[in-house]
């Protein structure tokens, strides 16, 4: 069931563009298309968010419970059981540091893992309805971002009173960091959604890679300082190439999360993260729309 608003529809096999490279420029139209179809995205968003909690007793409050529970575990395990020293003292510092990193990694993994299967899951729409399926991962990223925002509020609520988060004027750049995160998630999401159509192992592989990626990102460890990772292993320098590395650090620097344990400058991290995000979206989007016409035959 579909209505196409434009007035001339033409599809000739000989006039078709081929090759991923020719679609690289199309990414510029992507935000416009999201805006044009905002109602669709909004409906998908609501369906995803409320569909997840419909029928449960706590409902959307589960989003709030999750980060609080996570923090409690970290605090208990690393603060009480291991007594991990963070900046010379045992306290909520390490737990806040960890939570701030893991919230980003979790949001990224959740959005991308769900994106893997989104085209296949909506196969009925892809096959029977002419609609812009390159918008399919958008609502997933939106949902994960919303969950992330709730997590960030919990983080601030814990960090501010305990003095482990000390924001300054750089917090004004935080929305930009968030935007970079969204763009990066979208790019990876589009890429995976496309790959999964052709190779259904993608979601399983990605689930495993995600576990590894979580440990390769500065969530459980920090880079510099006397008890930083670099002091123990010089090869850890390579971990800076991880696209999530600058993103996590930019989040922490802009929010002022335990600045003593975060290396680099906000500008540097933000630029690197933006480059990754824009590159990823360009490639992911080009791949997705260049292969889109095969989807209906394969899902």
């Amino acid at each position: 069931m579909s209505v196409q608003a434009s007035l001339l529809h033409e599809h000739y096999a000989h006039a078709r563009r081929r090759g991923v490279l020719r679609f690289l420029g199309e990414v510029l139209g992507y935000p416009v298309r999201i805006w044009q179809h905002r109602l669709l995205v909004q409906n998908f968003f609501r369906r995803e968010l409320f569909g997840r909690f419909r029928g449960s007793f706590l409902g959307v409050f589960w989003v709030l419970v999750q980060p609080i529970f996570l923090f409690s575990i970290y605090f208990f395990v690393f603060g009480f059981m291991f007594g991990t020293k963070f900046g010379g003292q045992v306290g909520p510092g390490f737990a806040v540091y960890m939570l701030s990193g893991l919230l980003v990694v979790t949001a990224f993994m959740e959005a991308t893992l769900r994106s893997c299967t989104v085209v296949v899951e909506n196969g009925n729409l892809v096959k029977k309805v002419a609609f812009p399926c390159e918008l399919l991962p958008v609502h997933l990223v939106a949902v994960s971002t919303m969950v992330f925002l709730v997590g960030a509020i919990v983080l601030m609520a814990i960090g501010l009173p305990t003095g482990t988060i000390t924001p300054d004027a750089r917090i004004l750049l935080w929305p930009v960091v968030l935007l970079v995160q969204i763009v990066f998630c979208l790019g990876v999401g589009l890429l995976l959604a496309c790959v999964h159509v052709f190779m259904r192992d993608a979601s399983h592989i990605w689930g495993l890679l995600g576990q590894a990626w979580m440990f390769l990102s500065p969530g459980f460890w920090w880079m510099e300082g006397p008890d930083g990772l670099l002091a123990k292993a010089s090869w850890a320098e390579w971990l800076r190439l991880n696209p999530l590395y600058p993103l996590l650090q930019a989040h922490r620097l802009s929010l002022g999360v335990t600045p003593s344990h975060v290396d680099g400058t906000l500008t540097g991290h933000l630029l690197t993260a933006s480059a990754w995000a824009v590159g990823m979206l360009t490639v992911g989007h080009a791949l997705f729309i260049s292969r889109r016409e095969k989807f209906a035959d394969l899902v």
Binding site: S6, A13, Q42, D297
Partner: protein
């Protein structure tokens, strides 16, 4: 409006089926030396045009390529060769309620579906009451559609789908939605579209619907157009073909020759046009058909009887006439006997014409033989069934 609205040119579609999920990847590798896929041609060189304001029907068996053609015109899958052009806003109803979420209420799903179809919020709000009224689901609209019956879900889907006001409507087998009352509403809505000069592309297994609604029709067979033209003609040809195909135990009449050479025998059976005397085996209802039988009697001529019948492929005998029943006596040495049917009263179908040579009492069969060619009747009327009676209608309104 006589301008062509849908124009399809040399459209072909093939699918590549890979043996393993990695076949697609392996085939791309530089050292790959053999194709790892099998091509399936769903459509081959399909060309047609649909003029504005007309309705094109689409019929064909399973796997003939109907769905592929509809999906291509809808724009979800793309032609491998050739292409098409459609002018105007398209709405396609390939599947009702695609994208419905069972946990959400009817109201939420209406908004969702409208968004998928590209409606703006304002458009949806403006149409909402119309959709709700059409679906007649007022009491249930705020209940999750998990609680709906399947017929209700279809009603909701159809109501949203027809709320758009397209120039071109592509429909796949959706008139069988809901109860009788709702089906009538659907058909009326479709008629309404037609009357307002909209262009339609209509795929259905109900040949009756295709004849009633469509002006022209396409019969797809193995991905190619088997017949294209007037809807009545195409559906009749398709029905003729399907009837033959559907008859599993194909009636085959074997010749049973006489035991001895000097017994009476049939030499030849020919179908002729009774008016011109020319050999011909394809007729229309109302034509005059002659079945000419050449006979040779035994050396000492005896009285014979001849019977001629017509049997449908599945073995149903439609009629049989005998010289014995009609009091015609045959006692010549060698000659021809011709049965003339001056006004053929049969409708579409392919018929075997068996001929029996019997003794005068009609008991002993000397020789049985079918006509050299089968009798093919091509229907050009809208009537259904096997027999075309003379018929009249008398209408009398009761005075109150």
């Amino acid at each position: 409006m006589s301008q062509s609205v849908i124009q399809v040119e040399h459209l072909s579609k093939s699918y590549q089926l890979y043996g393993s999920p990695f076949g697609r990847l392996l085939e791309r590798l530089p050292w790959n030396d053999r194709p790892r896929h099998r091509s399936v041609h769903a459509l081959r060189d399909v060309s047609f045009t649909v003029d504005g304001g007309t309705c094109m029907g689409l019929v064909g068996g399973n796997g003939a390529g109907k769905s592929t053609l509809l999906k291509i015109l809808t724009g979800t899958t793309f032609p491998s060769v050739g292409g098409y052009r459609i002018r105007g806003r398209i709405a396609s109803l390939l599947e009702l309620g695609a994208g419905f979420h069972l946990d959400f209420t009817g109201r939420e799903n209406i908004y969702m579906n409208a968004a998928i179809m590209g409606f703006s919020r304002r458009e949806t709000q403006a149409k909402f009451q119309e959709i709700l009224d059409f679906s007649e689901l007022h009491d249930f609209i705020d209940a999750p559609i998990r609680t709906y019956s399947s017929g209700m879900v279809c009603r909701l889907g159809f109501s949203v789908a027809v709320a758009s006001d397209p120039d071109v409507l592509i429909i796949d087998e959706i008139l069988a939605v809901g109860d009788m009352h709702f089906q009538r509403k659907c058909v009326e809505r479709i008629w309404d579209y037609k009357n307002r000069g909209k262009t339609m592309f209509f795929c259905s297994h109900s040949l009756y619907d295709v004849r009633q609604i469509c002006d022209n029709a396409i019969w797809l067979k193995n991905g190619s157009i088997a017949r294209l033209g007037d809807a009545v003609m195409v559906t009749n040809d398709y029905a003729t073909y399907e009837n033959q195909l559907g008859a599993k135990q194909d009636f085959e009449m074997k010749e049973k020759p006489p035991a001895h050479d000097d017994q009476p025998r049939i030499l030849a059976v020919e179908l002729l046009d009774a008016k011109t005397g020319e050999a011909r085996n394809v007729f229309n209802p109302g034509d005059s058909v002659a079945v000419q039988v050449r006979l040779r009697n035994s050396p000492v001529p005896e009285k014979l009887a001849l019977a001629v019948g017509a049997t449908r492929k599945e073995g149903l005998l439609l009629f049989a006439h005998s010289t014995q029943f009609d009091g015609v006596s045959l006692d010549f040495q060698e000659g021809t006997v011709t049965l003339v049917l001056p006004d053929l009263r049969l409708l579409a179908g392919e018929l075997v014409v068996p001929v029996w040579l019997l003794d005068a009492r009609g008991v002993h069969r000397y020789h049985e033989m079918p006509a050299s060619k089968n009798l093919i009747v091509e229907n050009r009327t809208k009537d259904l069934g096997v027999v075309l009676h003379d018929h009249q209608w008398h209408v009398e309104a009761m005075q109150r």
